[in-house]
């Protein structure tokens, strides 16, 4: 039984690894269609990653071990987070390793080292990306925590599986505080995963890049790992949101049919969120960097309003 749980755990991580590029392909495909372009297909990200893995690594002369270590670390933290967030089943053996606060911390490690790697080469782009990324993160994190607080008020827990349990056991009712928190979470997730209107993942224009500026010097397998980790991070943020706000479908027991159903529902959720993401990204333009204060400030405000409404109504 113990072994079986570990198999489920590995299955979940494997699905995450496998599905993340396809989801990225899905988003890009929808985006192309919505803008009247021909898309490269659902599987283009796989081809990109395979191509990058087979290429040689080109390093700048003064790249230190930090630069070479960072891709592995980023990949490692994201995979670990993938083993903790309940995507398929609640019965994950390492789920209690981390609650939501620790998950935020795990993503913070990846960001910390990516920012250092950006400064390692000594080009202006890298430093600019690092500086902006850390600024945005420092505004996004309090808002994220406020949103988590608001949600955890209802479930009286920050452990993800416990939050899902509370929803399943019917103790939770629809609360206005959750709506506020969801809205705040969406804004923060856009910032944390580097999507429009905060950052443009498709740009290489020097004044608008943030995340891309930090990883500009990467090539070969290093770049492949970072790109892959980023795709997984997007999926993980969606799964995190799903576990907190709409957990229906996640298997409570370990039996195979439930897992299969959970997998199909997960695909549906991803497809739907991808659709919404494309609408947001097509409808909005990227913001100026100093407008982001207002953007993330409003996320913070929404989360605080959610908390207020919880205290007023309960």
């Amino acid at each position: 039984m113990k072994l079986y749980k570990f198999i489920i755990e590995f299955l979940q991580v494997a699905i995450l690894l496998g599905i993340a590029p396809a989801f990225m392909g899905w988003v890009r495909m929808l985006k192309c269609w919505s803008q009247g372009r021909t898309s490269a297909g659902l599987f283009q990200p796989y081809r990109d990653i395979i191509k990058l893995f087979s290429k040689d690594v080109l390093l700048a002369d003064n790249a230190s071990w930090i630069f070479r270590f960072t891709p592995y670390l980023v990949f490692g933290t994201v995979v670990l987070a993938g083993g903790i967030i309940p995507m398929l089943s609640l019965e994950l053996p390492i789920a209690s390793t981390a609650d939501v606060i620790v998950l935020v911390g795990l993503f913070a490690i990846a960001r910390f080292f990516t920012a250092l790697a950006g400064m390692d080469i000594g080009t202006a782009f890298g430093g600019m990306g690092s500086s902006r990324e850390m600024t945005i993160a420092s505004l996004a994190e309090p808002a994220m925590l406020m949103a988590i607080f608001t949600v955890s008020l209802a479930s009286k827990s920050t452990s993800l599986s416990q939050m899902v349990h509370v929803v399943y056991s019917g103790q939770s009712v629809l609360r206005p505080s959750l709506a506020f928190a969801l809205f705040a979470f969406v804004l923060i997730a856009l910032a944390e995963t580097g999507r429009i209107p905060v950052d443009n993942p498709a740009t290489h224009l020097e004044l608008t890049m943030i995340h891309e500026a930090m990883i500009l010097e990467y090539s070969g397998r290093h770049l492949a790992l970072i790109e892959w980790a980023n795709m997984m991070k997007l999926v993980l943020f969606i799964m995190l949101g799903a576990a907190v706000f709409a957990p229906w479908g996640i298997a409570q027991t370990g039996d195979l049919t439930a897992i299969l159903a959970a997998f199909l529902i997960m695909l549906l959720k991803l497809a739907a969120v991808g659709f919404v993401l494309v609408i947001i990204e097509t409808g909005l333009a990227k913001m100026r960097i100093f407008r982001l204060t207002e953007f993330l400030g409003s996320a913070f405000l929404l989360a605080t309003l959610g908390m207020l409404s919880f205290f007023i109504l309960e």
């Binding site: 003064n62 990949f75 390793t97 910390f112 920012a115 390692d120 690092s130």
Partner: protein
């Protein structure tokens, strides 16, 4: 000898006292060895580390066994001999002090040798030992007199250490400022003890000055509040709580780096100890708004401290401001604990207190490590200004890696130790909806959001500190001949870094060890671990509520990193080295890198209203076209607002008063005779 007195010598208090004696002894012997400086350094710092080792043993024993030992020395005033006492709280702080001083003393063996041939170090050695002894005595003291004497020994010794390189004006200025603030604080502490002692037994006898009498005393709320506010003011001045922090970023950077490590790492903790001792132990019961005061000052210090740290370009000054931030975080924990205690919620109070104390221990280790790292950089490059540095990771591999561990720990990233204490604090905050007051229900989570802001800004700050110092290219004109730290220095840093990792990966052991402190102070334990393999999971409230396993995070990341590395290196891939891609312009130089000022620019702009910033850009046009200037001068000055708001008026007022009073000095004998005459008349009239 009966068993009890034998126990006094061999028990925890005996061990710690012998450590103090050893420190005094090496301070006394140091002048005799002044002719062989190299031997003096080796011998005295070895003995200091031996004393620290004794202290660690005594401290761990006192906490682990839950002992309370007292010792009365036949010294001091006739009616008030020196009382010494060790209990788990004191034992905890002794462990913290000695853990760091052990690492720093080993480090000093290498670091202080850098002064050989430049200046004699006898004075430094003497005051270093006295400083350590003073800190230990503060924690052991069990009466007001001995406490204040120890407090003064500590303050005076550290004053002379700050003054060590006294040919520089900034050192003298910083030491002077430090002395003034330390003494204003000491007066407040003295008055606070006076209030408590006077109400304990009346002002006629000295008996009230023992801490035991103060514990017994039932103070009316008004006097208790006065005592608390005075003590908080005094200790906050020592701890560098904003707005009483101005001396800290001046004094800590100019001291020798091993001393900076101790001052930032553990001297500030003696003030934290004082606050905990006075509120939780001596006064005992208090209204919730005392906790709110501590919490609010903690929040202000945390957020402002880290923002000021972000604005600094001097590496050691940045670290000093970051100490202000961390003291703030510790006070947040203690303040929350006080609030919970006053509402009779012992479990939450215990959780918040553990979080605060754990952060005190963590901060000692990582800040000590970071100051030692900064000291190695200073030792190697003779440079404190980050704008000149860069690329040191290639020349100083050990220092860079160890400094990075310090940066990761202080930025509250799992699996290192800074994260554990912040996580515990968040857990305590998350339970705040149980508070009965609606105002607090809302304010406490907002405090948690500010704590999250602090953590994220600290990460930005240390990306800047590490990135600008160690990564990229050297930014100055000529790269000096940089050398790696020698083995004693490395050993000190490695031990501190290992402690940071162990405190982060195996927190349950340490929390179980120190669980007795909240049991004694607030009446309950938190029993952090639960279930099978309990040591693996940190679950302070309940497993369902929240759990964290630093071990699994550490091993999990390690496993995936190693696995991916092996998978990708089965087929030997090639790595080509090439010059940096310069977009085809071909004139990339090291001045084009992002530097410290540039890195913090977005945050400076967002939070600029909190600072006193003057920014000027001057263009020198070339010919007629302003679009292609010949030269661009950028001037930036960032000042602490509290200096202008708080200190300048006080300074100006005292000058004004002294000018007025100075008019009495006429210089004519007749005037002075009249003063004496008037005084006599007044005395005759009023004192009958």
């Amino acid at each position: 000898m009966d068993t009890e007195s034998i126990y006094m010598i061999t028990g925890p208090i005996g061990i710690v006292s012998s450590a103090i004696l050893l420190l005094f002894l090496s301070a006394l012997l140091a002048p005799l060895l002044k002719n062989s400086q190299r031997f003096l350094i080796n011998a005295s710092f070895m003995s200091a580390s031996a004393a620290s080792f004794l202290g660690i043993a005594g401290g761990i024993w006192a906490v682990g066994g839950g002992y309370t030992n007292t010792l009365v020395l036949p010294l001091g005033l006739p009616d008030l001999p020196f009382h010494l006492r060790i209990d788990p709280l004191a034992g905890f702080f002794i462990t913290v002090i000695c853990l760091l001083s052990f690492c720093v003393s080993l480090y000093s063996i290498g670091y202080i040798k850098g002064y050989l041939g430049r200046r004699p170090v006898t004075r430094l050695v003497i005051f270093y030992n006295l400083f350590l002894a003073g800190m230990l005595m503060v924690v052991l003291a069990d009466d007001a007199l001995f406490f204040l004497i120890s407090w003064e020994v500590m303050a005076a010794a550290s004053y002379f250490l700050v003054m060590f390189e006294d040919e520089r004006i900034e050192n003298r200025r910083a030491a002077f400022l430090y002395m003034i603030v330390a003494h204003i604080g000491a007066i407040a502490i003295l008055l606070s003890f006076g209030v408590m002692a006077g109400l304990a037994t009346g002002f006629e006898s000295f008996n009230g000055y023992t801490f035991d009498a103060m514990r017994e005393a039932q103070l009316p709320l008004s006097w208790a509040t006065a005592a608390f506010l005075l003590a908080f003011f005094g200790f906050a001045a020592k701890a560098g709580v904003i707005p009483l922090h101005v001396w800290l970023p001046e004094a800590h950077p100019v001291a020798p780096s091993n001393v900076s490590a101790l001052m930032s790492g553990v001297m500030l903790k003696t003030a934290i100890y004082g606050i905990v001792r006075v509120t939780f132990d001596l006064i005992g019961t208090y209204p919730w708004w005392w906790g709110a005061i501590v919490l609010i000052f903690g929040l202000i210090s945390a957020v402002m401290g880290v923002l000021y740290a972000l604005m600094q370009n001097d590496l050691k000054r940045l670290l000093a401001y970051s100490s202000v931030e961390n003291v703030g975080i510790i006070l947040i924990g203690i303040g929350a604990s006080m609030i919970f205690t006053s509402f009779q919620m012992p479990l939450l109070a215990a959780l918040a207190l553990i979080a605060g104390l754990y952060h005190a221990m963590n901060h000692a280790m990582f800040k000590g490590l970071l100051f030692m790292g900064a000291g190695s950089v200073l030792h190697a490059t003779n440079e404190r200004n980050m704008e000149q540095m860069g690329g040191l990771i290639h020349r100083m591999r050990w220092t860079a890696a160890l400094f990075l561990i310090g940066c990761v720990s202080i930025s509250a990233l799992p699996p290192f130790n800074g994260f554990v204490s912040e996580w515990l604090m968040f857990q305590a905050f998350l339970l705040s909806p149980a508070l009965p007051s609606p105002l607090l229900k809302l304010l406490v989570p907002l405090g948690a959001a500010l704590l999250a802001l602090t953590g994220a800004l600290a990460a930005a700050c240390f990306v800047k500190a590490f990135g600008v110092t160690f990564l990229g290219h050297w930014r100055g004109h000529h790269m000096p001949r940089v050398h790696e730290a020698d083995w004693p220095m490395r050993t000190g840093m490695i031990l501190a870094a290992l402690t940071c990792l162990v405190l982060g990966v195996l927190p349950t052991f340490f929390i179980d060890w120190m669980d007795i402190i909240p049991e004694q102070l607030v009446g309950t334990k938190i029993s952090a671990s639960s279930g099978v393999y309990g040591w693996l999971w940190l679950a302070p409230v309940a497993r369902e509520r929240a759990s964290y396993s630093g071990t699994i995070v550490f091993l999990g990341i390690l496993l995936v990193v190693v696995a991916v590395y092996i998978v990708l290196h089965v087929k030997p891939g090639t790595i080509h080295r090439a010059p940096i891609w310069d977009c085809g312009f071909g004139k990339l130089n090291q001045r084009m890198q992002y530097n410290a000022t540039a890195f913090s620019m977005p945050i400076r702009r967002i939070f600029g209203f909190l600072f006193n910033i003057r920014e000027k850009v001057k263009l020198t046009p070339k010919g007629l076209s302003p679009a292609f200037p010949k030269r661009l001068n950028y001037y930036l000055r960032i000042r602490d607002r509290s200096w202008g708001w708080l200190y300048k008026p006080v300074v100006e007022f005292s000058f004004w008063v002294s000018r007025r009073v100075g008019r009495l000095q006429q210089g004519r004998i007749q005037a002075y005779l009249i003063y004496s005459f008037i005084t006599i008349i007044v005395l005759l009239v009023f004192s009958r």
